[in-house]
Symmetry: C2
Amino acid sequence: MGGIEEILAVKEMIQGMAREAKLSARQLRTARRSEKDAALDFMAENILARKEEIVKTNAEDVTLARKKGLSPAMIDRLTLDQKTIGSMVAGLREVAALPDPVGEVSGMWKRPNGLQVGQVRIPLGVIGFIYESRPNVTVDAAALCLKSGNAVLLKGGSEAISSNLILNELLAAALRKANLPEKSIQVIPSTDREAVGILLDLDDYVDIIIPRGGEDLIRFVAENSRIPVLKHYKGVCHVYVDEFADVEMARKICFNAKVQRPGVCNAIETMLVHKKVAPLFLPEMIREFSNAGVEIRACEESAKLIPGLKRAEEGDWPAEFLDLILAVRIVENMDEALDHIERYGSNHTEAIVTDNYERSQQFLERVDASVVLVNASTRFNDGFELGLGAEIGINTAKLHAYGPMSLRELTITKFIVFGSGQVRT
Amino acid sequence: MGGIEEILAVKEMIQGMAREAKLSARQLRTARRSEKDAALDFMAENILARKEEIVKTNAEDVTLARKKGLSPAMIDRLTLDQKTIGSMVAGLREVAALPDPVGEVSGMWKRPNGLQVGQVRIPLGVIGFIYESRPNVTVDAAALCLKSGNAVLLKGGSEAISSNLILNELLAAALRKANLPEKSIQVIPSTDREAVGILLDLDDYVDIIIPRGGEDLIRFVAENSRIPVLKHYKGVCHVYVDEFADVEMARKICFNAKVQRPGVCNAIETMLVHKKVAPLFLPEMIREFSNAGVEIRACEESAKLIPGLKRAEEGDWPAEFLDLILAVRIVENMDEALDHIERYGSNHTEAIVTDNYERSQQFLERVDASVVLVNASTRFNDGFELGLGAEIGINTAKLHAYGPMSLRELTITKFIVFGSGQVRT
């Protein structure tokens, strides 16, 4: 954490990087798609060409992390092997293949005085991206920022610092080769804790902050930033099994939403079941979950229906378990399910299973979540799965973008006006 | 302003109002356009029916403000007369006539697995609107928030408190009559300075803060809010008169942009003139400005061209004069004009006057401002003038909405997904 002089030096360094980022952003504003795609291709080539070296450098990070006693899950996320390198390269090529949102004119109309007014998509400017120790995210995030015409300052977890710096070197070389400003992508080389706070203070240079990681990191960023933040704290998602649900379909969807990947934000934490369908649906569903090792936390009514279940406590309803744990609640009617979601949901992903037309429409309209689904698993809240392409995160605040953020969400529109001498009277 | 106990009481009151606002927002989410338009019409009727009373109540505010020694300009903004009441009523009816953005589906597509994915427009939720002592803004802002399906907490200037409260009473009566939640629109009745800080802290209830007023107010709000803020600090706007400009047109546009209403944000503060056109354009232009009482602050080159002009100082280039003062600078070429705008502009409104195709295209692409115009006055950066309808403010941060914010900018899209049992593999 260093003394005051060290911190001042870090501050000066980060400010200098932010100034460079802003200058780069001005150039990127008018970069052509062909230039950006060429840079992405060169990045893929560079990474492939130097993959042994990347793995070796990453191994140093991993060795240090082991010495520090990091958990196996964290070591796993930190490790770069042939497979993760392969998917970084594939990711770069996928982003190159995506359409460029910059320059798209979303509408143009003529005013009574002859002015022609349109809206054109432009980059945001400079993005500050703050994340934990997953070096592949360095490349994924850099690719999305570059393609959308933004400069990016990357502040990754300190355990990944050597890996991030070698990747940054390869990305910068590709930018130079494509005649794009090499400071468009900059990994902040400091492992000081203060570096994040310094970055969050640079509202003269940085247009937007995107944090990705655990709830603590995101809360810290949101509470300390002078710059607008796009973030989601947690995903407390539900499936509501309606009285008119196809019970087979409901079991398949609930099972998938909980079990397929329990540690992610679009997995469900609570299953809400209409009381009329519960006797038919629940016993078999609970058996399936138990066989898969899912621990159930049951409401009073469901515990009555299926003896021996662990009882849910009040703290279970707002909990994001991120694990093979599922709260289960029987509701009197859909209104009660909607009230539960309103109270405990996190505006992330909510699904209904029903064959009733009116219920499906009501659920879609009345639920406030970034993605609302009928008869499909919550696991589809994902940029790729929804057809947007790679995503940089999911925003659960109703500002700028609600839901997965892909290339388009890293842009904004400005108005352009074609006149012929008009003045205002 | 009051002891700790009083402040705690104000805090409790505002928290209670915010809770009510959130409950109202949940109901407004599904309100039909016909209900919202009916409420707006009832509001217009109520205001017309009780206009004498409004004027009388407002006179009390004005009398107090005079005693406090407020400036004539502030007294003017505070005063409600038959004319301002007439324009409030007309504003309500105009908003009723605008299309409802809520429910609009901006796109729908099918995924390879058969999922149908769409994006539908929804309200933001609860808006905190902070403004100065213009009671007509209470009605204008309330109308836009209601029509876009949002609940609003209104914190106006303390001098307008009696006027705002009687208007709130009439708006609430209209909401009741239209069977909409009357707490959808709430004027915060406190004149405590702490009230603003309390409101900015309620991130559990309020989705977005929109401040409208002087730079100090906006800076205070932006620096103290835990809630995302949509704002612009100032409008330092330019017209660049290119070497290929039609000089007659350029004079008409520059004159309009400075003189028609100098105290507003989309008036220009600096005129940038290509050196090749300066001898032809500038002397006559300066004469016109002088005749209109505009004080010129000239760069070295323009002062050489036209003797006797007051010289500009460095502090004049980033200044928002909001007055009949204009800085003038002769530039070597368009790049120098673009550098000047990049350095001193406020991302608000920028215009070029040129008959050259390439220059017009370059200017439109390279300038980073919420509205960029060719051959038209900067005064057109306005919701009505651009064809969006009434506006609630102009946003100069590149987040959510860049430029004038009208009904659509008070909404966001969520994803809706129609499935038939799909799960993720």
